[in-house]
Symmetry: C2
Subunit: 102 residues, 2 copies
């Protein structure tokens, strides 16, 4: 049986292809596919990104090879960035000292 971590890695691949396989190249997300992925899969993270230019901005940031599409490597850099930001918040909350018992 796969471990939690192996299942999480599988999810990254499955979610990417859930949207990348919709139209055009199956190896990358078009602007439309990225927009759909962000709306469906990252809605609670990206609630603040309501302006129409947000997807274009994120697309430009992610598209490190400048081909107008987001491939899997570029996509995981978004996931990594968000995970690192969340983990920093997690650590801050975990650092709250326990209440002394006496």
């Amino acid at each position: 049986m796969p471990s939690d971590l192996e299942r999480a890695m599988e999810t990254l691949i499955v979610v990417f292809h859930r949207y990348a396989d919709t139209e055009g190249s199956k190896a990358s997300l078009s602007r439309k596919e990225l927009k759909m992925l962000m709306e469906k899969e990252l809605s609670s993270f990206l609630k603040t990104q309501k302006d129409p230019a947000a997807v274009d901005r994120i697309m430009k940031d992610l598209d490190s090879n400048g081909d107008g599409e987001v491939n899997f490597e570029e996509f995981v850099s978004l996931v990594v960035g968000l995970s690192i930001a969340c983990e920093q918040i997690y650590q801050k909350h975990a650092q709250v000292p326990a209440v002394k018992k006496n």
Copy 2:
């Protein structure tokens, strides 16, 4: 309810801290903690890494700031590397052409 992708990101954080919180700094994995994580969470990926020096080698590769510990950012670089390798295999298999119907 969190999406599949949000749940996968949460899993990365939870799994990291499941081991990082065991001893010493809770913000990073010691060699012993990394070894335990790899044995429990990545056993099917790292089956080939049976020699005792493998953990040290991987630790050295991941420890980009050279402090002898693996922090969350360094840990996700391992997850990303493995995910990218898996996704390339996934794509190769997905490229098998469909059988023509006529």
